[in-house]
Protein backbone atom coordinates (compact mmCIF):
# COMPACT_ATOMS: atom_id res chain seq x y z
CA UNK A 1 0.00 0.00 0.00
CA UNK A 2 1.48 3.31 -1.09
CA UNK A 3 2.01 6.06 1.43
CA UNK A 4 -0.58 8.85 1.61
CA UNK A 5 -0.05 12.54 1.10
CA UNK A 6 -0.95 13.04 4.77
CA UNK A 7 1.75 10.64 5.96
CA UNK A 8 4.36 12.18 3.71
CA UNK A 9 3.62 15.71 5.00
CA UNK A 10 3.75 14.43 8.56
CA UNK A 11 7.05 12.69 7.82
CA UNK A 12 8.52 15.87 6.36
CA UNK A 13 7.69 17.77 9.55
CA UNK A 14 9.31 15.00 11.63
CA UNK A 15 12.46 15.06 9.53
CA UNK A 16 12.70 18.85 9.51
CA UNK A 17 12.33 19.05 13.29
CA UNK A 18 14.78 16.23 13.82
CA UNK A 19 17.47 17.67 11.59
CA UNK A 20 17.11 21.35 12.51
CA UNK A 21 16.46 22.57 16.04
CA UNK A 22 15.43 25.96 14.63
CA UNK A 23 12.23 24.48 13.20
CA UNK A 24 9.14 25.26 15.30
CA UNK A 25 5.48 24.47 14.68
CA UNK A 26 2.67 26.85 15.60
CA UNK A 27 -1.05 26.47 15.18
CA UNK A 28 -4.43 25.83 16.69
CA UNK A 29 -5.15 22.41 18.25
CA UNK A 30 -1.97 20.88 16.88
CA UNK A 31 -0.97 19.05 20.06
CA UNK A 32 -1.41 15.30 20.61
CA UNK A 33 -3.61 13.44 21.07
CA UNK A 34 -5.65 15.57 18.67
CA UNK A 35 -2.71 16.32 16.36
CA UNK A 36 -4.36 19.06 14.30
CA UNK A 37 -7.73 19.26 12.58
CA UNK A 38 -6.41 17.20 9.65
CA UNK A 39 -3.76 15.29 11.66
CA UNK A 40 -0.79 16.61 9.71
CA UNK A 41 1.01 17.42 12.97
CA UNK A 42 0.12 14.17 14.74
CA UNK A 43 2.90 12.81 16.93
CA UNK A 44 5.08 15.89 16.69
CA UNK A 45 4.21 17.43 20.05
CA UNK A 46 4.97 14.11 21.73
CA UNK A 47 8.39 13.88 20.13
CA UNK A 48 9.24 17.61 20.28
CA UNK A 49 7.18 19.02 23.16
CA UNK A 50 9.25 22.20 23.41
CA UNK A 51 8.96 23.07 19.75
CA UNK A 52 5.30 22.50 18.98
CA UNK A 53 3.33 25.52 20.17
CA UNK A 54 -0.45 25.37 20.46
CA UNK A 55 -1.91 28.83 20.05
CA UNK A 56 -5.19 30.52 20.86
CA UNK A 57 -7.56 31.16 17.94
CA UNK A 58 -5.48 34.07 16.66
CA UNK A 59 -4.52 33.55 13.04
CA UNK A 60 -3.05 37.01 12.61
CA UNK A 61 -0.86 36.53 15.67
CA UNK A 62 0.16 33.02 14.58
CA UNK A 63 1.68 34.32 11.37
CA UNK A 64 2.91 37.48 13.10
CA UNK A 65 4.73 35.34 15.68
CA UNK A 66 6.20 33.26 12.88
CA UNK A 67 7.44 36.41 11.15
CA UNK A 68 9.12 37.66 14.30
CA UNK A 69 10.65 34.25 15.04
CA UNK A 70 11.97 34.05 11.48
CA UNK A 71 13.51 37.53 11.66
CA UNK A 72 15.34 36.38 14.79
CA UNK A 73 16.87 33.20 13.48
CA UNK A 74 14.21 30.47 13.72
CA UNK A 75 12.36 28.50 11.02
CA UNK A 76 8.71 28.46 12.02
CA UNK A 77 6.04 26.41 10.27
CA UNK A 78 2.57 27.78 10.97
CA UNK A 79 -0.65 25.87 10.43
CA UNK A 80 -3.83 27.77 9.59
CA UNK A 81 -6.59 25.29 10.34
CA UNK A 82 -8.74 26.12 7.31
CA UNK A 83 -7.58 27.92 4.18
CA UNK A 84 -10.63 30.15 4.40
CA UNK A 85 -8.92 31.88 7.33
CA UNK A 86 -6.11 33.24 5.15
CA UNK A 87 -8.14 36.42 5.00
CA UNK A 88 -7.06 36.95 8.60
CA UNK A 89 -3.36 36.57 7.82
CA UNK A 90 -3.28 38.68 4.68
CA UNK A 91 -1.73 41.66 6.48
CA UNK A 92 0.99 39.51 8.01
CA UNK A 93 1.81 37.82 4.70
CA UNK A 94 1.58 40.83 2.39
CA UNK A 95 2.70 43.78 4.53
CA UNK A 96 5.17 41.96 6.75
CA UNK A 97 6.51 38.55 5.65
CA UNK A 98 6.69 39.29 1.94
CA UNK A 99 7.92 42.86 2.40
CA UNK A 100 10.72 42.60 4.96
CA UNK A 101 13.52 41.19 2.84
CA UNK A 102 13.16 43.68 0.01
CA UNK A 103 12.13 46.63 2.17
CA UNK A 104 15.11 46.13 4.48
CA UNK A 105 17.48 45.98 1.52
CA UNK A 106 18.20 42.23 1.81
CA UNK A 107 19.46 42.69 5.40
CA UNK A 108 17.00 40.10 6.68
CA UNK A 109 15.40 36.80 5.70
CA UNK A 110 11.91 35.60 6.63
CA UNK A 111 11.94 31.80 6.35
CA UNK A 112 8.36 31.00 7.29
CA UNK A 113 6.06 28.32 5.92
CA UNK A 114 2.32 28.82 6.34
CA UNK A 115 0.54 25.51 5.70
CA UNK A 116 -3.18 25.46 5.17
CA UNK A 117 -5.83 23.11 3.77
CA UNK A 118 -8.02 24.48 0.98
CA UNK A 119 -10.86 23.14 -1.12
CA UNK A 120 -14.33 21.68 -0.88
CA UNK A 121 -16.36 18.51 -1.22
CA UNK A 122 -15.96 17.59 2.41
CA UNK A 123 -19.33 19.06 3.41
CA UNK A 124 -17.87 21.84 5.55
CA UNK A 125 -20.03 24.57 4.03
CA UNK A 126 -19.44 28.01 2.56
CA UNK A 127 -16.75 29.33 4.93
CA UNK A 128 -14.70 26.12 5.29
CA UNK A 129 -14.47 24.92 1.71
CA UNK A 130 -13.00 27.69 -0.40
CA UNK A 131 -9.86 27.82 -2.50
CA UNK A 132 -8.53 31.28 -1.76
CA UNK A 133 -4.91 30.82 -2.83
CA UNK A 134 -5.37 33.10 -5.82
CA UNK A 135 -5.48 36.09 -3.46
CA UNK A 136 -1.78 35.51 -2.79
CA UNK A 137 -0.59 34.87 -6.33
CA UNK A 138 1.58 37.67 -7.61
CA UNK A 139 2.47 39.06 -4.19
CA UNK A 140 6.13 40.03 -4.58
CA UNK A 141 8.36 38.20 -2.12
CA UNK A 142 5.86 35.43 -1.37
CA UNK A 143 5.90 31.96 -2.91
CA UNK A 144 2.75 29.88 -3.21
CA UNK A 145 3.30 26.13 -3.41
CA UNK A 146 0.84 23.25 -3.71
CA UNK A 147 1.65 19.53 -3.30
CA UNK A 148 0.16 16.77 -5.44
CA UNK A 149 0.22 12.98 -5.63
CA UNK A 150 2.94 12.80 -8.24
CA UNK A 151 5.80 14.67 -6.67
CA UNK A 152 6.66 13.59 -3.16
CA UNK A 153 4.82 16.03 -0.84
CA UNK A 154 7.51 15.42 1.78
CA UNK A 155 10.21 16.59 -0.59
CA UNK A 156 8.15 19.66 -1.42
CA UNK A 157 7.49 20.56 2.22
CA UNK A 158 11.13 19.97 3.15
CA UNK A 159 12.20 22.34 0.38
CA UNK A 160 9.67 24.87 1.65
CA UNK A 161 11.03 24.69 5.21
CA UNK A 162 14.59 25.02 3.92
CA UNK A 163 13.60 28.04 1.80
CA UNK A 164 14.87 31.39 3.10
CA UNK A 165 11.79 33.22 1.87
CA UNK A 166 8.18 33.18 3.07
CA UNK A 167 5.88 30.67 1.56
CA UNK A 168 2.21 29.73 1.55
CA UNK A 169 1.84 25.95 1.28
CA UNK A 170 -1.63 25.05 0.02
CA UNK A 171 -2.83 21.53 0.80
CA UNK A 172 -6.11 20.46 -0.76
CA UNK A 173 -8.18 18.60 1.85
CA UNK A 174 -9.04 15.77 -0.53
CA UNK A 175 -5.35 15.07 -1.11
CA UNK A 176 -4.61 13.99 2.46
CA UNK A 177 -6.01 10.49 2.12
CA UNK A 178 -4.76 10.00 -1.43
CA UNK A 179 -1.94 7.51 -2.08
CA UNK A 180 1.20 8.69 -3.82
CA UNK A 181 1.39 7.60 -7.43
CA UNK A 182 4.20 5.45 -8.67
CA UNK A 183 5.67 6.02 -12.09
CA UNK A 184 4.73 3.38 -14.67
CA UNK A 185 2.18 1.75 -12.37
CA UNK A 186 -1.58 1.87 -11.85
CA UNK A 187 -3.10 5.04 -13.22
CA UNK A 188 0.27 6.16 -14.52
CA UNK A 189 0.81 3.11 -16.73
CA UNK A 190 -0.14 5.00 -19.89
CA UNK A 191 1.93 8.11 -19.16
CA UNK A 192 5.49 9.14 -19.69
CA UNK A 193 6.52 11.58 -16.97
CA UNK A 194 9.09 14.35 -17.11
CA UNK A 195 9.96 16.21 -13.92
CA UNK A 196 11.84 19.51 -13.88
CA UNK A 197 14.95 19.73 -11.71
CA UNK A 198 13.64 22.46 -9.43
CA UNK A 199 12.97 22.72 -5.71
CA UNK A 200 9.27 22.99 -6.52
CA UNK A 201 9.15 20.89 -9.69
CA UNK A 202 6.65 20.85 -12.47
CA UNK A 203 5.69 17.67 -14.31
CA UNK A 204 4.69 16.88 -17.87
CA UNK A 205 2.59 13.75 -18.37
CA UNK A 206 2.36 12.65 -21.98
CA UNK A 207 1.21 9.55 -23.83
CA UNK A 208 4.20 8.19 -25.76
CA UNK A 209 4.23 7.78 -29.52
CA UNK A 210 1.16 9.91 -30.20
CA UNK A 211 0.96 13.61 -30.95
CA UNK A 212 -1.15 15.25 -28.22
CA UNK A 213 -4.39 17.07 -29.06
CA UNK A 214 -4.87 18.99 -25.84
CA UNK A 215 -2.81 20.45 -22.99
CA UNK A 216 -4.22 20.58 -19.48
CA UNK A 217 -2.51 22.83 -16.93
CA UNK A 218 -3.37 22.31 -13.29
CA UNK A 219 -2.08 21.92 -9.74
CA UNK A 220 -2.82 20.18 -6.47
CA UNK A 221 -5.86 17.97 -6.14
CA UNK A 222 -7.25 18.90 -9.55
CA UNK A 223 -4.51 16.79 -11.06
CA UNK A 224 -6.53 13.81 -9.81
CA UNK A 225 -9.51 14.96 -11.86
CA UNK A 226 -7.41 15.93 -14.87
CA UNK A 227 -5.75 12.52 -14.91
CA UNK A 228 -9.07 10.68 -14.77
CA UNK A 229 -10.42 12.88 -17.56
CA UNK A 230 -7.31 12.35 -19.69
CA UNK A 231 -7.62 8.57 -19.34
CA UNK A 232 -11.31 8.67 -20.18
CA UNK A 233 -10.68 10.81 -23.26
CA UNK A 234 -7.95 8.41 -24.32
CA UNK A 235 -10.01 5.25 -23.86
CA UNK A 236 -13.40 6.52 -25.02
CA UNK A 237 -12.50 9.07 -27.68
CA UNK A 238 -8.85 8.50 -28.61
CA UNK A 239 -8.04 12.07 -27.65
CA UNK A 240 -4.45 12.37 -26.48
CA UNK A 241 -3.81 14.78 -23.63
CA UNK A 242 -0.65 16.23 -22.17
CA UNK A 243 -0.95 17.30 -18.54
CA UNK A 244 1.36 19.97 -17.19
CA UNK A 245 1.25 19.81 -13.41
CA UNK A 246 2.66 22.67 -11.33
CA UNK A 247 3.91 22.63 -7.73
CA UNK A 248 4.83 26.30 -7.76
CA UNK A 249 1.87 28.58 -8.37
CA UNK A 250 3.61 31.88 -7.69
CA UNK A 251 5.90 33.33 -8.89
CA UNK A 252 4.68 32.02 -12.26
CA UNK A 253 7.14 29.85 -14.13
CA UNK A 254 5.33 28.26 -17.06
CA UNK A 255 8.24 26.94 -19.11
CA UNK A 256 7.05 23.43 -20.03
CA UNK A 257 3.63 24.74 -20.93
CA UNK A 258 5.00 26.66 -23.90
CA UNK A 259 6.56 23.49 -25.35
CA UNK A 260 3.37 21.49 -24.92
CA UNK A 261 1.21 24.19 -26.49
CA UNK A 262 3.41 24.35 -29.55
CA UNK A 263 2.22 20.81 -30.18
CA UNK A 264 -1.44 21.08 -29.15
CA UNK A 265 -2.42 24.76 -29.47
CA UNK A 266 -5.27 23.97 -27.11
CA UNK A 267 -5.08 24.76 -23.42
CA UNK A 268 -7.47 23.89 -20.63
CA UNK A 269 -6.63 25.24 -17.18
CA UNK A 270 -8.25 23.61 -14.15
CA UNK A 271 -8.50 25.13 -10.70
CA UNK A 272 -11.01 24.89 -7.89
CA UNK A 273 -11.44 28.60 -7.19
CA UNK A 274 -13.60 31.11 -8.98
CA UNK A 275 -13.28 32.01 -12.65
CA UNK A 276 -12.22 35.64 -12.58
CA UNK A 277 -8.64 36.80 -12.09
CA UNK A 278 -7.46 33.38 -11.07
CA UNK A 279 -4.46 31.15 -11.67
CA UNK A 280 -5.82 30.02 -15.04
CA UNK A 281 -6.47 33.57 -16.18
CA UNK A 282 -2.86 34.49 -15.48
CA UNK A 283 -1.54 31.33 -17.16
CA UNK A 284 -3.50 32.11 -20.32
CA UNK A 285 -2.50 35.79 -20.25
CA UNK A 286 1.15 34.80 -20.14
CA UNK A 287 0.78 32.32 -22.98
CA UNK A 288 -0.93 34.98 -25.08
CA UNK A 289 1.74 37.56 -24.29
CA UNK A 290 4.49 35.09 -25.11
CA UNK A 291 3.20 34.19 -28.57
CA UNK A 292 3.32 36.39 -31.66
CA UNK A 293 1.23 34.00 -33.70
CA UNK A 294 -1.86 32.72 -31.90
CA UNK A 295 -3.59 31.46 -35.04
CA UNK A 296 -5.49 28.29 -34.18
CA UNK A 297 -4.94 28.57 -30.43
CA UNK A 298 -7.89 27.85 -28.16
CA UNK A 299 -8.08 28.53 -24.43
CA UNK A 300 -10.59 27.48 -21.77
CA UNK A 301 -10.63 27.84 -18.00
CA UNK A 302 -12.32 25.30 -15.73
CA UNK A 303 -13.28 26.58 -12.34
CA UNK A 304 -15.75 25.88 -9.59
CA UNK A 305 -17.85 29.04 -9.58
CA UNK A 306 -18.43 31.65 -12.23
CA UNK A 307 -17.65 34.71 -10.17
Amino acid sequence: MADTVLNRLNQALFSAMESDEHVYLLGEDILDPYGGAFKVTRGLSTKFPERVLATPISESAIVGLANGMALRGLRPVAEIMFGDFVTLIADQLINHAAKFRWMYNDNVRVPIVVRTPMGGRRGYGPTHSQSLEKIFLGVPGLKVIAPNTLGDPARLLSAAIADDDPLLFVEHKLLYARPLLESGQGELTEFKIQMSAKAYPNFVLSIPNYGPHLTIATYGYNFELARAAALEMLMEHEIFTEIVLFSQLSPFDLEPLFDSLQKTRKLLTIEEGTQSLGWGAEVIARIVEGNNDLGGYKFRRMYYLQA
Binding site: V63, G64, N67, L71, D91, Q92, M103
Partner: protein, 314 residues
Protein backbone atom coordinates in the same frame (compact mmCIF):
# COMPACT_ATOMS: atom_id res chain seq x y z
CA UNK B 1 13.32 50.63 44.68
CA UNK B 2 15.52 50.73 41.66
CA UNK B 3 18.92 52.29 42.07
CA UNK B 4 18.94 54.15 38.79
CA UNK B 5 22.28 55.88 39.22
CA UNK B 6 24.03 52.64 39.99
CA UNK B 7 22.57 50.86 36.99
CA UNK B 8 23.29 53.67 34.59
CA UNK B 9 26.89 54.03 35.71
CA UNK B 10 27.38 50.26 35.49
CA UNK B 11 25.83 50.06 32.05
CA UNK B 12 27.53 52.97 30.38
CA UNK B 13 30.67 53.10 32.45
CA UNK B 14 30.30 56.86 32.64
CA UNK B 15 30.02 59.26 35.55
CA UNK B 16 26.45 59.51 36.77
CA UNK B 17 26.47 63.28 36.49
CA UNK B 18 26.34 62.91 32.71
CA UNK B 19 22.85 61.42 32.77
CA UNK B 20 21.07 64.77 32.58
CA UNK B 21 23.32 65.95 29.82
CA UNK B 22 23.00 62.74 27.80
CA UNK B 23 19.21 62.81 27.99
CA UNK B 24 19.11 66.45 26.98
CA UNK B 25 21.41 65.92 24.05
CA UNK B 26 19.46 62.90 22.81
CA UNK B 27 16.22 64.86 22.93
CA UNK B 28 17.83 67.81 21.23
CA UNK B 29 19.25 65.74 18.39
CA UNK B 30 15.79 64.31 17.77
CA UNK B 31 14.20 67.77 17.89
CA UNK B 32 16.75 69.33 15.53
CA UNK B 33 16.64 66.36 13.18
CA UNK B 34 12.87 66.51 12.85
CA UNK B 35 12.86 70.29 12.45
CA UNK B 36 15.41 70.00 9.70
CA UNK B 37 13.36 67.29 8.06
CA UNK B 38 10.24 69.45 7.95
CA UNK B 39 12.29 72.33 6.58
CA UNK B 40 13.62 70.11 3.79
CA UNK B 41 10.06 69.07 2.95
CA UNK B 42 8.86 72.66 2.87
CA UNK B 43 11.43 73.60 0.23
CA UNK B 44 10.75 70.46 -1.79
CA UNK B 45 14.08 68.73 -1.10
CA UNK B 46 12.23 65.79 0.44
CA UNK B 47 9.13 64.19 -1.02
CA UNK B 48 6.61 61.61 0.14
CA UNK B 49 5.51 61.64 3.73
CA UNK B 50 6.97 61.56 7.22
CA UNK B 51 5.79 61.54 10.81
CA UNK B 52 7.83 63.60 13.22
CA UNK B 53 8.46 63.02 16.91
CA UNK B 54 8.59 66.67 18.01
CA UNK B 55 7.14 66.95 21.52
CA UNK B 56 7.54 63.25 22.35
CA UNK B 57 11.35 63.20 22.63
CA UNK B 58 11.40 62.40 26.35
CA UNK B 59 9.79 59.01 25.70
CA UNK B 60 12.54 57.72 23.44
CA UNK B 61 15.37 59.40 25.32
CA UNK B 62 14.17 58.02 28.65
CA UNK B 63 13.53 54.49 27.42
CA UNK B 64 16.70 53.98 25.41
CA UNK B 65 18.86 55.30 28.24
CA UNK B 66 17.92 52.16 30.20
CA UNK B 67 17.80 49.43 27.51
CA UNK B 68 20.65 47.11 26.65
CA UNK B 69 22.38 47.70 23.31
CA UNK B 70 21.44 44.18 22.18
CA UNK B 71 17.73 44.47 22.98
CA UNK B 72 15.35 44.15 20.03
CA UNK B 73 13.16 47.05 19.00
CA UNK B 74 10.15 47.21 16.71
CA UNK B 75 9.02 50.72 15.97
CA UNK B 76 6.20 52.22 13.97
CA UNK B 77 5.54 54.90 11.38
CA UNK B 78 6.81 57.49 13.87
CA UNK B 79 10.22 55.89 14.25
CA UNK B 80 12.89 58.59 13.84
CA UNK B 81 13.04 59.54 17.51
CA UNK B 82 13.19 55.91 18.58
CA UNK B 83 15.95 55.19 16.09
CA UNK B 84 18.09 58.17 17.07
CA UNK B 85 17.70 57.42 20.78
CA UNK B 86 18.54 53.76 20.05
CA UNK B 87 21.91 55.04 18.88
CA UNK B 88 21.24 55.07 15.16
CA UNK B 89 23.26 57.24 12.84
CA UNK B 90 21.41 60.47 11.88
CA UNK B 91 23.29 60.56 8.59
CA UNK B 92 22.10 57.10 7.53
CA UNK B 93 18.56 58.01 8.55
CA UNK B 94 18.67 61.29 6.61
CA UNK B 95 19.99 59.41 3.58
CA UNK B 96 17.15 56.91 3.88
CA UNK B 97 14.57 59.68 4.02
CA UNK B 98 16.07 61.09 0.84
CA UNK B 99 15.94 57.68 -0.83
CA UNK B 100 19.72 57.51 -1.17
CA UNK B 101 21.60 54.27 -1.66
CA UNK B 102 23.59 55.06 1.50
CA UNK B 103 20.36 55.07 3.51
CA UNK B 104 19.72 52.54 6.24
CA UNK B 105 17.99 50.22 3.80
CA UNK B 106 19.36 51.54 0.55
CA UNK B 107 16.57 54.04 0.07
CA UNK B 108 13.94 51.34 -0.23
CA UNK B 109 12.11 51.97 3.02
CA UNK B 110 11.99 55.72 3.50
CA UNK B 111 10.61 57.32 6.62
CA UNK B 112 8.63 54.44 8.12
CA UNK B 113 10.48 51.29 7.07
CA UNK B 114 13.97 51.13 8.48
CA UNK B 115 16.23 48.41 9.83
CA UNK B 116 19.61 48.57 11.49
CA UNK B 117 21.15 46.06 13.89
CA UNK B 118 18.29 44.98 16.17
CA UNK B 119 16.07 47.91 15.26
CA UNK B 120 13.14 47.43 12.88
CA UNK B 121 10.20 49.59 11.87
CA UNK B 122 7.13 49.15 9.72
CA UNK B 123 4.34 51.54 8.84
CA UNK B 124 1.53 49.10 9.55
CA UNK B 125 -0.54 49.92 12.63
CA UNK B 126 -0.97 46.90 14.87
CA UNK B 127 0.65 44.33 12.59
CA UNK B 128 4.08 44.96 14.05
CA UNK B 129 2.93 43.86 17.50
CA UNK B 130 2.56 40.11 16.81
CA UNK B 131 5.83 40.27 14.88
CA UNK B 132 7.59 41.79 17.89
CA UNK B 133 5.93 39.19 20.11
CA UNK B 134 7.43 36.49 17.91
CA UNK B 135 10.82 38.16 18.27
CA UNK B 136 10.45 38.08 22.04
CA UNK B 137 9.62 34.37 21.78
CA UNK B 138 12.71 33.77 19.66
CA UNK B 139 14.98 35.61 22.08
CA UNK B 140 13.48 33.67 24.98
CA UNK B 141 14.23 30.46 23.09
CA UNK B 142 17.79 31.68 22.45
CA UNK B 143 18.15 32.29 26.22
CA UNK B 144 20.30 35.37 25.72
CA UNK B 145 18.60 37.81 28.08
CA UNK B 146 17.50 40.15 25.31
CA UNK B 147 14.12 41.73 25.64
CA UNK B 148 11.96 43.15 22.86
CA UNK B 149 10.33 46.58 22.86
CA UNK B 150 7.46 47.42 20.55
CA UNK B 151 6.02 50.91 20.10
CA UNK B 152 2.33 51.58 19.64
CA UNK B 153 0.17 54.67 19.95
CA UNK B 154 -3.31 55.52 21.13
CA UNK B 155 -4.48 55.00 17.56
CA UNK B 156 -3.07 51.47 17.49
CA UNK B 157 -5.45 50.52 20.29
CA UNK B 158 -8.09 50.16 17.59
CA UNK B 159 -6.25 47.26 15.95
CA UNK B 160 -7.25 43.75 16.97
CA UNK B 161 -3.87 42.14 16.34
CA UNK B 162 -2.43 43.82 19.44
CA UNK B 163 -4.86 42.04 21.75
CA UNK B 164 -4.01 38.68 20.22
CA UNK B 165 -0.41 39.55 21.02
CA UNK B 166 -1.08 40.69 24.60
CA UNK B 167 -2.89 37.42 25.21
CA UNK B 168 -0.11 35.22 23.84
CA UNK B 169 2.70 37.24 25.44
CA UNK B 170 1.00 36.81 28.82
CA UNK B 171 0.13 33.13 28.29
CA UNK B 172 3.65 32.18 27.23
CA UNK B 173 5.62 34.54 29.48
CA UNK B 174 7.37 36.46 26.71
CA UNK B 175 9.96 39.16 27.52
CA UNK B 176 8.38 42.08 25.68
CA UNK B 177 7.67 45.66 26.68
CA UNK B 178 4.64 47.17 24.98
CA UNK B 179 5.31 50.90 24.90
CA UNK B 180 2.10 52.85 24.38
CA UNK B 181 2.73 56.48 23.54
CA UNK B 182 -0.57 58.31 23.86
CA UNK B 183 -0.10 61.61 22.06
CA UNK B 184 -3.82 62.28 22.12
CA UNK B 185 -4.48 61.92 18.43
CA UNK B 186 -4.74 59.13 15.89
CA UNK B 187 -3.83 61.22 12.87
CA UNK B 188 -6.70 63.74 13.22
CA UNK B 189 -9.01 61.72 15.50
CA UNK B 190 -8.82 62.78 19.16
CA UNK B 191 -8.33 59.99 21.67
CA UNK B 192 -11.80 60.65 23.14
CA UNK B 193 -13.33 59.58 19.85
CA UNK B 194 -11.05 56.62 19.25
CA UNK B 195 -10.44 54.89 22.57
CA UNK B 196 -13.08 53.73 25.02
CA UNK B 197 -12.47 52.66 28.59
CA UNK B 198 -9.05 52.51 30.18
CA UNK B 199 -5.67 52.15 28.50
CA UNK B 200 -4.11 50.51 31.54
CA UNK B 201 -7.19 48.30 31.82
CA UNK B 202 -6.41 46.84 28.41
CA UNK B 203 -3.17 45.41 29.79
CA UNK B 204 -4.70 44.51 33.15
CA UNK B 205 -7.28 42.36 31.38
CA UNK B 206 -4.44 40.09 30.27
CA UNK B 207 -2.65 40.18 33.62
CA UNK B 208 0.14 42.35 32.22
CA UNK B 209 1.56 44.86 34.73
CA UNK B 210 1.65 48.47 33.63
CA UNK B 211 3.84 51.46 34.36
CA UNK B 212 2.08 54.69 33.47
CA UNK B 213 3.57 58.18 33.21
CA UNK B 214 1.44 61.28 32.93
CA UNK B 215 4.38 63.55 32.32
CA UNK B 216 6.89 64.65 29.73
CA UNK B 217 9.67 64.84 32.31
CA UNK B 218 12.39 62.65 30.91
CA UNK B 219 13.70 61.68 34.34
CA UNK B 220 10.34 60.32 35.46
CA UNK B 221 9.99 58.47 32.18
CA UNK B 222 13.49 57.08 32.52
CA UNK B 223 12.74 55.85 36.02
CA UNK B 224 9.45 54.15 35.03
CA UNK B 225 11.00 52.67 31.90
CA UNK B 226 13.80 51.22 33.97
CA UNK B 227 11.38 49.53 36.36
CA UNK B 228 9.26 48.16 33.54
CA UNK B 229 12.29 46.90 31.64
CA UNK B 230 13.75 45.30 34.75
CA UNK B 231 10.46 43.51 35.30
CA UNK B 232 10.43 42.17 31.73
CA UNK B 233 14.06 41.12 31.89
CA UNK B 234 14.12 39.55 35.33
CA UNK B 235 10.66 37.94 35.34
CA UNK B 236 10.75 37.03 31.63
CA UNK B 237 7.22 38.33 31.30
CA UNK B 238 5.51 41.11 29.35
CA UNK B 239 4.87 44.59 30.70
CA UNK B 240 3.15 47.72 29.49
CA UNK B 241 4.58 51.23 29.61
CA UNK B 242 1.99 53.93 28.99
CA UNK B 243 3.40 57.35 28.30
CA UNK B 244 0.94 60.22 27.96
CA UNK B 245 2.59 62.79 25.78
CA UNK B 246 2.02 65.57 23.26
CA UNK B 247 2.75 65.74 19.57
CA UNK B 248 3.67 69.31 18.67
CA UNK B 249 3.70 68.83 14.89
CA UNK B 250 1.12 67.49 12.48
CA UNK B 251 0.51 63.73 12.22
CA UNK B 252 2.52 63.76 9.02
CA UNK B 253 2.91 67.14 7.36
CA UNK B 254 -0.20 69.09 6.45
CA UNK B 255 -2.89 67.33 8.42
CA UNK B 256 -3.19 69.23 11.69
CA UNK B 257 -6.73 70.30 12.53
CA UNK B 258 -5.95 71.43 16.07
CA UNK B 259 -6.60 75.03 17.11
CA UNK B 260 -3.78 77.52 17.53
CA UNK B 261 -4.84 77.80 21.17
CA UNK B 262 -4.37 74.08 21.74
CA UNK B 263 -1.03 74.01 19.97
CA UNK B 264 0.20 76.87 22.13
CA UNK B 265 -1.12 75.42 25.38
CA UNK B 266 0.68 72.10 24.95
CA UNK B 267 4.02 73.90 24.60
CA UNK B 268 3.99 73.97 28.40
CA UNK B 269 4.81 70.25 28.22
CA UNK B 270 7.88 70.67 26.03
CA UNK B 271 10.26 68.03 27.41
CA UNK B 272 13.31 70.11 26.49
CA UNK B 273 12.06 73.11 28.44
CA UNK B 274 11.22 70.90 31.42
CA UNK B 275 14.65 69.30 31.47
CA UNK B 276 16.97 72.15 30.46
CA UNK B 277 17.03 73.86 33.91
CA UNK B 278 18.90 70.78 35.18
CA UNK B 279 21.84 71.68 32.97
CA UNK B 280 24.35 74.48 33.37
CA UNK B 281 24.47 77.28 30.82
CA UNK B 282 27.70 75.85 29.52
CA UNK B 283 26.15 72.38 29.09
CA UNK B 284 23.12 73.76 27.30
CA UNK B 285 25.28 75.75 24.89
CA UNK B 286 27.49 72.78 24.25
CA UNK B 287 24.53 70.45 23.66
CA UNK B 288 22.93 72.98 21.32
CA UNK B 289 26.00 73.34 19.16
CA UNK B 290 26.75 69.60 19.14
CA UNK B 291 23.20 68.65 18.19
CA UNK B 292 23.09 71.28 15.48
CA UNK B 293 26.42 70.15 14.06
CA UNK B 294 25.39 66.47 14.04
CA UNK B 295 22.14 67.19 12.22
CA UNK B 296 23.73 69.62 9.79
CA UNK B 297 26.45 67.11 8.95
CA UNK B 298 23.85 64.34 8.50
CA UNK B 299 21.75 66.24 6.00
CA UNK B 300 24.64 67.79 4.09
CA UNK B 301 26.43 64.48 3.62
CA UNK B 302 23.22 62.58 2.83
CA UNK B 303 22.21 65.23 0.31
CA UNK B 304 25.44 64.75 -1.59
CA UNK B 305 25.08 60.97 -1.81
CA UNK B 306 23.95 59.09 -4.89
CA UNK B 307 20.48 57.94 -5.67
CA UNK B 308 20.13 54.17 -6.10
CA UNK B 309 20.05 52.88 -9.65
CA UNK B 310 16.56 52.54 -11.01
CA UNK B 311 16.51 48.78 -11.18
CA UNK B 312 16.93 48.29 -7.44
CA UNK B 313 13.86 50.14 -6.24
CA UNK B 314 10.26 49.60 -6.97
Amino acid sequence: MVNLKHILSMRYNVPVMDNNYALYKTMLIIRRFEERLLAEFSVGKLVGTTHTYIGQEADAAGIFSVTNPEDVVFSSHRCHGHFLAYGGDPYRLAAELMGKSTGLVGGRGGSQHIQWRNFYSNGIQGGIVPVATGMALAEKIHRNGKITLVFIGDGTLGEGAIYESFNIAALWGLPILFVLENNGYAQTTPVEKGVSGSMAGRFAAFGIPVWECNTTDVLEIQSSALEAIQHVRSEIKPAGLILHTYRFSAHSKGDDLRSQEELESIQAFDPLKLHSPRLTDEERTRADSEAMAIVEDAFIRAGADLNPSLNTTG
